[in-house]
Amino acid sequence: MDLQIALLLGQDGVVNGAIYALLALALVLVFAVTRVIFIPQGEFVAYGALTLVSVQAGKVPGTLWLLLGAGLVVAAIDIALALRVGNRRRLPAIVGWNLVLPGAVAGALYGLDLAQLPMALQVVLALAVVVPLGPMVYRLAYQPLAEASVLVLLIISVAVHFALVGLGLFFFGAEGSRTPAFSDASFQLGTLNVNGQTLWVLGASFALIVALYAFFGRTLYGKALRATAINRVGARLMGISTTLAGKLSFALAALIGAFSGILIAPITTVYYDTGFLVGLKGFVGAIIGGLVSYPLAAAGALLVGLLESFSSFWASAFKEVIVFTLIIPVLLWRSLTSHHVEEEE
């Protein structure tokens, strides 16, 4: 292995690591706020990428039907609940988020000449289809169990993952797809040839991380989420709705997931089931960060990316063995350095 190869591998590892880092951040966020280990995170990656593929092909994506259907179910349940407790003031919000918004998205998808739109608009449309699914999934699957144990929530996650993968196969078929690159530019960095998409991935990841940082540090909603993460009961006593916090964190997670998918779609082929392993590696990164620290989670994800890249060079058949086995000492170190508190389950 010469320096050139090492540099290329390093570049590859960093790009993959950046994606894992984004997913790791979303996983940390969701876990901290709702105690849900969000295994279906990976499905949002695939949904985001493949929805964009459909839009670019000028077709109405199958995920739209999921959005409309889920919106309908959520609206039905919430309206029934609101009427039962006589809280009519909530009705406009329920109808707006679950019926009007998906309806508007559907209108746009049917009304516009999708294939001819500028790419940025196509991306926005794809996100508009996928991101609202996040809070809807939270409402339908997790909210009734918000106080259950981490284990039960985890099993719910697995069930949601099964359902979403099955739907993905139904919507998008078994074959994969790619999207055109955001830019065809490439740069010469010393001996290293860096293409434009790579920079896009790194830049967008960095920008998202900064944006999240600002969101949590500067905005009221961000602070509310942090408060919920630190102490659920306390936050509720302060008037922060844990339901709102849950939905908000799921919306963010869906946004990050779908956007990651859109970022990687030009550099790799995305399949309906791509998400699981990608999400799992993001999860490994998140765990290295102890599921609480954002910078550490990002660093952990980068480590996973690099490890993967170099082991695929040295022993490709055993790549997963190496990546997942080397994680164990890291876990051990984490668990020895973090102080042991008895869990209350």
Binding site: D12, N16, E175, G176, S177, T269, S309, S312, S316, A317
Partner: protein, 381 residues
């Protein structure tokens, strides 16, 4: 007690439906899971098959095994004991087919596999006597590639394949034949179907500097190594396997897969075959039926393996009907014998002539070399 009477009732319904003496064909395929891109066209193909042969009604009972061996075996047992099938077709992938052999042999039910490995019908023994298959063996396809390589003066070759039974089967056969023909395999790498990056493997391949590289993957995932090779500036020849022979591969691969060489069943380039080739008519017939049902350009060579299995059956059923009634042990035995006696049956992938020692029965006509030119499959003469 209620449950038991209910089960007994179900049982008797199953028995009654079998007594009508339709021919029941059980199908096990991988319509979900990692092998879904192979299994789905196969599933679609069964919907096109004739529902009567020689005046007998045929029922196709299609079950999905999710690319999992346990489920494949469970489904096979179910088809045999619940649906009383006369023959099993499946499964899509090699491990599942291997796992099903014991079950069909125990129940003395013939089985036609749609998976590639020669291990399914070789070495022939008492159990495999019940097992047939339609896809070309990896050996046949490997030989075609190696021949093409020797003719093209390729001395060194790099290999990158799926980290599953498909890649493994190719590696075993290809490395053996390459060594025999004095082609040196300088690197062998693996990757996963859903990997997002194969940069590491590609760099390893390129640092060995081979004259040609063989990518052993199926469907669109096989495009990723090739795109990465192009991106990193690899200039040598690139070979793919017949696993990529569907239009999705061309769609995803785009201009990066131009000039790719691969062996394939003749069905892939049916229109370009000379009119004298008997396969042409059968293959075109299949293609037109499939595309009429599922849209232009939707056909894949995997569906044609299922079609060929159907053709073998249609040829064997009349002979078996002369000996026994469907639904009986004797009929299954007669069907097995008739399948083994298959002679010059023309399928979409080749001409089948079976024998007690050869339960595949394809010859050199079952493969052609194909090159991708201007986003089309072009037959190499």
């Amino acid at each position: 007690m209620k449950l038991k009477s209910l089960l007994a009732a179900l049982f008797s319904i199953a028995a009654v439906s079998a007594a009508q003496a339709d021919i029941n064909v059980g199908v096990v395929l991988s319509a979900t899971g990692p092998a879904a891109s192979l299994g789905i066209p196969e599933k679609n193909t069964f919907a096109l098959m004739p529902t009567t042969v020689a005046g007998q009604k045929i029922n196709y009972i299609v079950l999905d095994d999710a690319s999992d061996t346990t489920t494949a075996v469970k489904n096979t047992r179910k088809l045999i004991s619940e649906d009383k099938v006369d023959v099993i077709i499946g499964s899509t992938i090699t491990p599942n087919s291997l796992a099903m052999i014991d079950v069909v042999a125990e129940a003395e039910t013939p089985m036609i596999s749609m998976a590639a490995s020669a291990r399914i019908v070789d070495p022939m023994d008492a159990k495999r006597a019940w097992v047939f298959k339609t896809p070309q063996n990896d050996v046949q396809m490997s030989t075609a590639i190696v021949e093409h390589m020797t003719n093209g003066n390729v001395k060194t070759v790099g290999f990158i394949g799926f980290s599953d039974a498909y890649g493994e089967g190719w590696w075993q056969e290809f490395s053996k034949i390459a060594e025999l023909r004095k082609i040196k395999v300088v690197a062998s790498e693996r990757y996963n179907r859903t990997d997002t990056s194969v940069t590491g493997q590609v760099l390893k391949l390129m640092s060995a500097n081979p004259d040609a590289i063989l990518i052993a993957g199926s469907g669109t995932p096989a495009a990723l190594p090739q795109k990465t090779l192009k991106e990193k500036g690899y200039k040598g020849k690139i070979y793919q396997t017949h696993g990529v022979a569907n239009n999705d591969f061309l769609r995803v691969g785009g201009k990066d897969v131009e000039g790719t060489l691969l062996p394939a069943g003749p069905v892939l380039v049916a229109a370009q075959l000379p009119d004298s080739n008997p396969i042409k008519k059968v293959a075109l017939d299949y293609i037109s039926k499939y595309e009429a049902a599922y849209g232009a350009g939707s056909v894949s060579t995997f569906g044609a393996h299922a079609w060929d299995a159907g053709l073998l059956l249609q040829n064997a059923i009349p002979a078996a009907l002369k000996k026994a009634q469907p639904g009986t042990k004797e009929f299954r035995k007669a069907l097995r014998d008739a399948l083994e006696g298959t002679k010059d049956v023309i399928g979409a992938h080749g001409v089948f002539t079976m024998s007690p020692m050869d339960h595949l029965g394809l010859d050199q006509r079952a493969r052609v070399m194909v090159r991708i030119e201007n986003g089309k499959w072009v037959l190499q003469k």
